[in-house]
Subunit: 289 residues, 2 copies
Amino acid sequence: MFKKIVIFGVGLIGGSIALALKKHPEAPHIVGVGRAQQSLQEALDLGLIDSAETDIASALHAADLVIIATPVAQTPAILKAIRPYLDESTIITDAGSTKSDVMAYARAELGDQVNQFVGGHPIAGAEKSGPAAAMADLYLGKNVILTPDAQTSNSALDQVSRLWQQCGAVVSHMSAQEHDSVFAAVSHLPHLLAFALVEDLAKRSNAELLFKFAASGFRDFTRIAGSHPEMWRDIALANKTALLSELRLYQQALSDMTALLEADDSRALHDLFEHASRARNDWAKSKIQ
Amino acid sequence: MFKKIVIFGVGLIGGSIALALKKHPEAPHIVGVGRAQQSLQEALDLGLIDSAETDIASALHAADLVIIATPVAQTPAILKAIRPYLDESTIITDAGSTKSDVMAYARAELGDQVNQFVGGHPIAGAEKSGPAAAMADLYLGKNVILTPDAQTSNSALDQVSRLWQQCGAVVSHMSAQEHDSVFAAVSHLPHLLAFALVEDLAKRSNAELLFKFAASGFRDFTRIAGSHPEMWRDIALANKTALLSELRLYQQALSDMTALLEADDSRALHDLFEHASRARNDWAKSKIQ
């Protein structure tokens, strides 16, 4: 397994990988790299990393894995910065929420070493962020999707798969395009729907009255509207094509439902609600571990 | 205060009123009425009610308050059934989620005794239902909305207000129309949006794949799509006018957001997400008691 791992971004995502790996008997040496000296020091103090580096050449010396766990917008600059110091055996992976854009960055920045890059997306998160939020069991039983393409080395893919399995995750492989299409539907669209609802109510003249009587259903439905604005703007733009397609399908579904209501079609409304309710509750049961 | 209260429907909503009132030193005698003998027996065994009746004349004898806590669809039949046995001092109230329809039922069924009717809606609920789910503190700190109209007796309104205050609730008054307009926005619309999303995904050929990777954001967003299909069909139809108006506004909000994404308007998307995120998080903070 890996002996020296370099993690760019030692927050919740990167820090939790580090903590999970440190539970293993032959834990790798973990180097943290970041622009915020304070976060690096915090990660050192918390024992997430064994050393901190700001110099990329030193950080990458004899590294066999680089993990990019920063906001996705930083990925191209990091790939460009590490390129001169990559051995031919160094594997690179990431943890971004969109994958077609990241695979394109890798092709653009890594040249003939793009086969050493494995795109990844751990489906795990938490309300908190930063090094102090890191948890050794964040990935336990969670899905991690890797998005190899025709150029990706099988050995690199296997090694990154094993890394995530060591963190307790369940690893799946699919194309970057399929990944982005799935997550447009089950994650990115719901986020946009929740932002749209809150904004639609918040800008009304009677917003105060509306919010006064909003209760637990509203609370859960809109929880994801409290998410990080920059992160979600970047995700929306990065996954624009798939998301626009999902928005069109959803608008059509809403129009169909509206037509049933306009027609007082009690039977069809009931059937739709019942089908959705059963699907949702079956899904929730299937997710209880 | 009330000495004899008759509750139609001794499930979560009615049963929790009974339990809350029983904590007071001069607790009223509480009679449960229902069509399901088993629920009545369960309510007796749990101590929610002091006696059970299936005969309406006996139940209403010397009753000073009737609470209708059944599904709203039963309300007109119950009003019709109790009308012959109402004293001129008996107050009637309900706990339905829509109010314009209930106020219309009261006008249609109660004739010149409609002034004794006070429409009500406690903004409280739980995942569970039935007598065993009843809790003395269900209404503690929760909003209850009463919807008097020009005919409603001030004395009846005051007494129903005090009843809810005895349950620990915070009582507000508004017109039935305003109530239905507020709840179309903050409750009924989000329910329809969640049903529509789940149904849109559940009927696709790759639904299994989509649901496999749906995670915590999806779980919270769709929790209300697991709600009772009949109840929500009835609410949607009962509050059709306000709900259609909300659906139109929301479709417009989604179209506006889609246009920003199509135009790659990074700045405007960010501002929209940030405004929504701040509004949602401020709201959540304001609700922490």
